[in-house]
């Protein structure tokens, strides 16, 4: 089975991303594929590499990257959601003449077309939100 995930949550409230991560680990362990994880809305605020996670808390962004490294996940961040929240890759940083790029390495900015493609290319689409 090929899954895609739509994440529409805030890392600072609720547990949607933890649930999505556990779901992803379990799906991959069972031999399913995850075509894409699409980060949308408030979720993208937490994908800045300037974020400091308190020592006694879990860095969820780090956990996505660890999972992606193990299983070659396509972590796509909605570009319009990211730019309006000040989460920029180098290209957007240059385009908008900002002082620094801050999108966490391992995540790719792209358009909503990537969500449309995920819908078409996957057997299942799961939304995790709050």
């Amino acid at each position: 089975m090929i899954f895609s995930l739509l994440i529409y949550a805030s890392q600072n409230s609720g547990q949607a991303e933890q649930t999505a991560l556990r779901f992803s680990r379990s799906a991959l362990a069972q031999g399913h594929k995850i075509h894409r994880v699409f980060f949308y809305g408030e979720t993208v605020s937490a994908l800045s590499n300037l974020k400091i996670t308190p020592r006694d808390e879990i860095d969820i962004t780090r956990q996505w990257l660890d999972l992606a490294a193990d299983d070659d996940l396509d972590l796509v961040v909605c570009i319009s959601a990211a730019v309006r929240r000040g989460v920029l890759n180098q290209q957007e940083c240059d385009r908008h003449n900002r002082s620094a790029a801050n999108l966490a390495a391992g995540f790719n900015l792209s358009g909503l077309g990537q969500l449309a493609d995920a819908i078409l290319s996957s057997d299942r689409l799961l939304t995790f939100g709050n």
Partner: protein, 120 residues
């Protein structure tokens, strides 16, 4: 046409959060990929469509302009519930966008017939 259709659910009133705008953006993007898109407005979602909104005073973009332009993107299937119209003492004439008013059971059928449902 793509082999999957998509139903988008709107459940929030205007100006409350970004979910209506974000859902609308998904509609436009998926339509550009030839995915047949339908929209349904549940509960407070119907308030997004009422006539007479003057969002300029809030210095916010009015999504109604985009809702009214959906036909240009071949998005013509917009649904509201008769029960929600009654709840807010509205008729379809009070809505600034052409919608079909359907029963609760028709709504359940619509959700069943949809291949993918996004509900932000």
């Amino acid at each position: 046409m793509a082999d999957k259709n998509l139903l988008l659910i709107f459940r929030n009133p205007p100006f409350a959060d970004s979910s209506n705008r974000d859902t609308l953006d998904i509609a436009l993007a998926c339509s550009a990929f030839d995915i047949p898109v339908s929209l349904i407005f549940l509960h407070d979602g119907i308030l997004q469509l009422t006539r007479g909104q003057q969002s300029k005073s809030l210095q916010q973009k009015n999504l109604l302009n985009t809702f009214n332009a959906l036909a240009m993107y071949d998005i013509n299937q917009l649904f509201v519930l008769q029960s929600d119209l009654q709840r807010f003492e509205l008729t379809t004439a009070d809505l600034s966008v052409d919608c079909q008013a359907i029963s609760d059971s028709k709504m359940a059928q619509l959700l069943r017939q949809s291949d993918r449902v996004i509900n932000l």
